[in-house]
């Protein structure tokens, strides 16, 4: 990081035609399994070349960036980000979400359709794309609602929405309880090879639940959400996928029993995948003790045994992707009695350093960890980023894996500050983020947030 520039964040300009040479880097490409010392050239927004032969040598007239042995890897793809735009801009806009993402090494965010109005029409997909083009500093894709208004009743125009650019179809934070509707959505989506992403929760079982059901909930006197409320829906959906042959992704699972169902479905050759939020990999229900509403998320944080099972799932590939489940909530809806407080945790900016806890603890290898946040979500959503190869788009990040720091929620770039990692000690820092070859974030030493 010896390039002489004092500009920060997205102000560092794009230099068309010029070559940026990242030398002396630890190149990590999860897609190919590459992990070696070398260099990488960026030209015209693309990766022009990479490999060990570029460790010390840069072509003439190129801007040289000495990576000092730090990790150079594909920028992360966060497949579950709730923004407040449109309708809830006081919580988050595409602009603020993208700045938080850039600072966290996330070069692509996929926003969820839980907005006001709900993203269930072509014009709204178009709106997101235009707002993102004008205001966001990372790539923004949107999922579209699979039922109108996310009401779980009538199917949306899946074909037209997909053609407009929706990368997947989801019912957002709510589950489709009507099995016939779910079957029809899956059946119809198959004709367009559209991916159906579902939040699995039996709302009858989970109704009024505020946290994981179990000893902690019993002691706190809070109504619980049992794991079965999740697993029962995963099982139902897998049966429907078996019947329809569609592509299905369980958005965020939180317990071992659900993972078992997914694994069994994969073993039967179904197009079934699943994700987990970084919160469920690094936190557990004990964090809720003291009625700490910043730890109130959906699905709820589970018992430590389930957290460990989720970590193993990432390590052995049973779980396909890790998401931040970034859900900005303002103070007013969080500083309430636990049961009345809103669900959701901010997280796109801390996704990578929080996930790196698993690497530092020795439970998940670096390549397996990054895979779940780069090439796996790219493949799932049909994106061309998420890999370090010649000719690929230069969405890359430079990461110091070891740098320790303490999160200060007030320095996070998100418009809302409901981070469960506030004051957490994390290890690993994004030094630079490039989106299509352009530096959109650069760490300045001494900067805490």
């Amino acid at each position: 990081m010896n390039e002489t520039t004092n500009k920060r964040d997205h102000e560092v300009g794009h230099r068309d035609g010029q070559t940026q040479a990242f030398l002396n880097a630890r190149l990590v490409d999860p897609a190919s399994g590459r992990d070696e010392i070398g260099g990488l050239l960026v030209r015209d927004g693309l990766i022009a070349d990479l490999g060990p032969h570029l460790r010390r040598n840069a072509p003439e007239n190129s801007t040289v960036i000495d990576c000092q042995g730090n990790v150079l890897c594909p920028g992360l793809i966060d497949a579950q980000v709730y923004s407040g735009e449109p309708g809830q801009e006081h919580r988050e806009t595409l602009k603020t979400a993208s700045r938080a993402a850039a600072a966290g090494g996330v070069t692509t965010i996929v926003v969820m359709p839980d907005t006001e109005p709900v993203i269930d029409q072509v014009s709204l997909v178009d709106f997101i794309q235009r707002r993102a083009r004008d205001n966001a500093i990372v790539h923004v894709h949107t999922m579209a609602a699979m039922t109108r208004g996310l009401a779980g009743e009538e199917m949306t125009e899946i074909g037209l929405l997909k053609r407009a650019g929706a990368v997947a179809f989801t019912n957002g934070k709510s589950s489709v309880t009507n099995t016939r509707v779910m079957r029809n959505v899956l059946n119809y989506a198959k004709d367009f090879d559209a991916l159906v992403v579902h939040h699995c929760e039996d709302s009858y079982l989970s109704s009024n639940g505020a946290m994981n059901s179990g000893e902690v909930a019993t002691r706190l006197g809070l109504p619980g959400v049992s794991q079965v409320a999740e697993t029962i829906v995963v099982e139902r959906d897998v049966r429907l996928v078996e019947m329809t042959g569609s592509r299905y992704h369980a958005a965020t699972i939180s317990c071992d029993a659900s993972l078992d169902v997914i694994k069994a479905a994969k073993a039967r050759g179904l197009h079934v995948t699943c994700g987990v939020s970084v919160n469920h990999l690094t936190l557990n229900e004990n964090d809720v003790t003291g009625y700490r509403t910043f730890f109130k998320v959906r699905p709820p944080l589970r018992h430590e045994d389930e957290r460990v099972a989720m970590v193993q799932g990432v390590a052995n590939g049973g779980i396909d992707i890790i998401v931040s489940s970034h859900d900005p909530q303002d103070v007013d809806v969080k500083r309430r009695p636990f049961q009345e407080a809103a669900d959701g945790a901010c997280g796109v900016e801390t996704l990578l350093p929080a996930a790196l806890r698993l690497y530092h603890s020795g439970h998940v290898g670096l390549v397996a960890l990054l895979k779940a946040m780069t090439c796996n979500p790219a493949k799932l959503l049909g994106l061309h980023s998420g890999r370090l190869t010649k000719g690929a788009i230069a969405d890359i990040i430079l990461v110091d894996l070891d740098q320790p720091w303490m999160v200060n929620k007030d320095l996070l770039r998100s418009r809302s500050k409901n981070s469960p990692f506030d004051e957490a000690r994390l290890q690993g820092r994004v030094l630079r983020t490039l989106v299509a070859g352009q530096t959109v974030y650069q760490y300045a030493s001494g900067q805490d947030g």
Partner: protein, 319 residues
């Protein structure tokens, strides 16, 4: 009971009184001893003292309650405090004022002690974090804690039986939604009593066996040789098939009648936090039984609340 430890305790070492979870036997005995004196004094003609003279107590009830509020009201007045009762109906919460706003508003009125009841678990603790220079007493928060109820139950038991440690206490009924049950389990465990909980599975919280109580779904077995039978109130809205099929079926299997009571020790106490649903969780004749101490519980309620207010007032800032 460790008498040495009791002797050492000159003051109650907590700023607020929020939960029975974590209270130690010496702390509980300290409050019970204080309450014992108050109970005796309450039976004399000259009931009034001046230990809270000049102090302001606000009873802030977000959930209607007749007896707990009256009990705190009387307790504060008998100690000489200025007591203000506020019933914040749920409608004004819907008007938009949050609990935090309420705390800020109350702070400005400079109370010394706030007694709070709220329908949401953890709400009283949240409020206690936002007040300045004043003590907060939990008068019941959701299904979490109702510590003064457990304290009055303990005093009632201690006065009737002469001790708490070594006794077997059965708590019967809607454990799932009961803050009274949770507080009692905590407190009775701290006092070395054996606790049983008796309920149908639909009214037991998950992992209830981890609370420090033996779990029974058969009331006849659960009452075998117990020293104290503590009944809980079953809310009417929970009897319509949601948790139990009918009040008739509930009474048959989990109502305290003479037949089931016969399983307990011959001198077993019969307790109920009130208000009672006669014929639902307790037979009318059992409620009026000579071993029923329901009226003493109400009497001890005033005494323990006096003890709590007095103990907390000793820790208030002096300036």
């Amino acid at each position: 009971m460790n008498q040495d430890a009791d002797a050492q305790l000159k003051t109650f070492p907590h700023r607020h009184f929020l939960s029975c979870d974590g209270l130690t036997a010496p702390e509980i005995n300290f409050l019970l001893d204080l309450a014992d004196e108050a109970a005796d004094r309450n039976r004399t003609v000259d009931k009034k003292r001046d230990v809270l003279d000049g102090k302001t107590v606000i009873n802030l009830f977000f959930e209607a309650s007749t007896r707990t509020q009256a009990s705190f009201d009387l307790a504060g007045k008998r100690l000489g405090a200025d007591v203000m009762n506020m019933l914040v109906a749920s409608s004004s919460v819907q008007k938009g004022e949050t609990l935090i706003d309420t705390a800020v508003t109350l702070n400005a009125m400079r109370p010394d002690i706030i007694v709070v009841r709220h329908h949401s678990a953890g709400a009283v603790e949240l409020l206690s974090q936002k007040v300045v220079d004043c003590a907060v007493v939990n008068a019941g928060d959701g299904a979490h804690q109702h510590p003064t109820q457990a304290l009055l139950d303990a005093l009632t038991i201690r006065r009737a039986k002469g001790r708490i440690d070594g006794l077997t206490v059965a708590i019967c009924g809607d454990i799932l939604h009961s803050r009274v049950a949770r507080s009692n389990i905590n407190l009775l465990n701290a006092m070395s009593a054996r606790v049983r909980i008796i309920a149908p599975s639909t009214l037991l919280p998950s992992n209830s066996d981890r609370l420090g109580a033996e779990v029974y779904t058969d009331m006849w077995k659960g009452l075998e040789d117990v020293d104290v039978v503590m009944m809980l109130r079953l809310q009417h809205e929970r009897m319509d098939g949601a948790y139990v099929p009918s009040s008739r079926e509930f009474f048959h299997f989990f109502g305290l009648d003479h037949e089931k009571l016969a399983r307990a020790k011959p001198d077993a106490l019969i307790m109920h936090p009130g208000p009672m649903n006669r014929g639902v969780e307790i037979a009318s004749t059992v409620a009026d039984h000579s071993r029923s101490v329901v009226r003493e519980q109400v009497e001890m309620g005033v005494a323990v609340r006096m003890a709590v207010l007095e103990a907390l007032s000793a820790n208030l800032p002096q300036t």
